[in-house]
Amino acid sequence: MNSDIERRQRFELVADQVYEPLQRYLRRRANREDAADALSEALLTVWRRLEDVPSDFPLPWCYGVAKRCLANQRRGARRHLRLVERITTEASTSPSHEIDDPVLEAALSELSDSDQELLRLWAWEQLEPREIALVLETTPNAVSLRLARAKAKLESRLTRQDSSTPGQKRDGHNEEHRP
């Protein structure tokens, strides 16, 4: 009985820390409904595997759980929505912000999915390599290397785009609207 109460308290403590960040994580990667489903699934997993949750900083571990919930959702049960999901995800990951950096957005989208995800975990979730490693279930070393490479790729695309102005206006007109 006592341990039941302790378990509940521990879960509530973890939930306090991860509840909102998990919503952000999921909404960055899925539409509202799927994110809500994945949230309850992820929290249920956290509850069931409470003993495995790192006590010092549970968030990366929980991101990893949420990531698998999303993957399962996509792979399995809700596969029928694949088309719909693609449409709504595209629609719903971007509506809340105006794209004010189309150059970066374009450069990012040219990278592989895994590079993009690394960069997102780094810049959006603000995780460090050892934390990203927990999400992706790999080693901090591997993450550092891959992250460095992904950044380099992104930066080289950005320099390329900056030096060749978007579009084909190489006839002097573009001098008028400098950033």
Binding site: R8, F11, E12, A15, D16, Y19, E20, Q23, R24, Y25, R27, R28, D37, S40, E41, L43, L44, T45, W47, R48, C69, N72, Q73, R75, G76, A77, R78, R79, H80, L81, R82, L83, V84, I87, T88, T93, S94, P95, S96, H97, I99, D100, D101, L104, E105, L108, L119, R120, W122, A123, W124, Q126, K151, L154, E155
Partner: protein, 200 residues
């Protein structure tokens, strides 16, 4: 340089900290947590464990599904032409869902499906789901279709729940309901894909 890149990237974040999320303290959040904590702590094999409202989201196991058309007219021949006036026609399933390998969804894959209709579930009973056909895209003109699951409801569901009163878009080939994006709850996007695929 790297911090600058990080900052620049973070400005693309659609869920930056100024976008509100639901606090853990709200009533519905607390309700969810409570529900989770009262969920029996037993791992169910194959279950993804959503605590509520998704009774049949289950294994993705390929389903042996039989479609039985009821009503006045039979269902289809292999090439999709309706067969007139055959009594309830049973189209057997060979066991494996032909789409089990889940190729990417695309209108061009949808188009060859011999059976496609939109229907509303009128009953879910035992191992049978009955749909009133709202619209035949291809392959039949029966007024009702029964989806049968000899291997049980979970096999029939194959990943998505059938609920009474909900409208679904269904495709089938060789008597098997196709999952993987080829059947599902009817949505405007999916219907548009069906209309495009089966436009004659």
């Amino acid at each position: 340089m790297t911090d600058e890149l990080r900052n620049r990237l973070s400005r693309l974040d659609p869920m930056s900290s100024d976008v509100p999320t639901e606090p853990v303290t709200t009533e519905s959040s607390q309700q969810l947590l409570e529900e989770i904590m009262t969920t029996p702590n037993v791992e169910q094999p194959g279950s993804s464990g959503t605590p509520n409202k998704r009774p049949w989201i289950a294994a993705v196991a390929a389903a042996a599904v039989v479609i039985v058309a009821v009503g006045a007219v039979g269902l289809l021949s292999g090439d999709g032409d309706p067969i007139a006036a055959t009594p309830p026609l049973e189209l057997n399933a060979g066991g494996e869902d032909v789409m089990a390998s889940c190729i990417a969804f695309g209108v061009e894959y949808l188009a060859p499906m011999p059976v496609a209709f939109e229907g509303t579930v009128v009953s879910v009973e035992g191992d049978a789901v009955t749909l009133d056909v709202d619209h035949w895209f291809k392959g039949g003109d029966a007024s009702q279709v029964v989806l049968n699951a000899p291997q049980g409801m979970e096999a029939l569901i194959g990943g998505f729940p059938f609920e009474e009163g909900t409208q679904y878009l269904i495709t089938a080939s060789e008597g098997n309901v196709n999952y993987c994006g080829f059947s599902g709850v009817s949505t405007p996007e999916m219907r548009a894909a069906f209309e495009e695929a089966f436009a004659s």
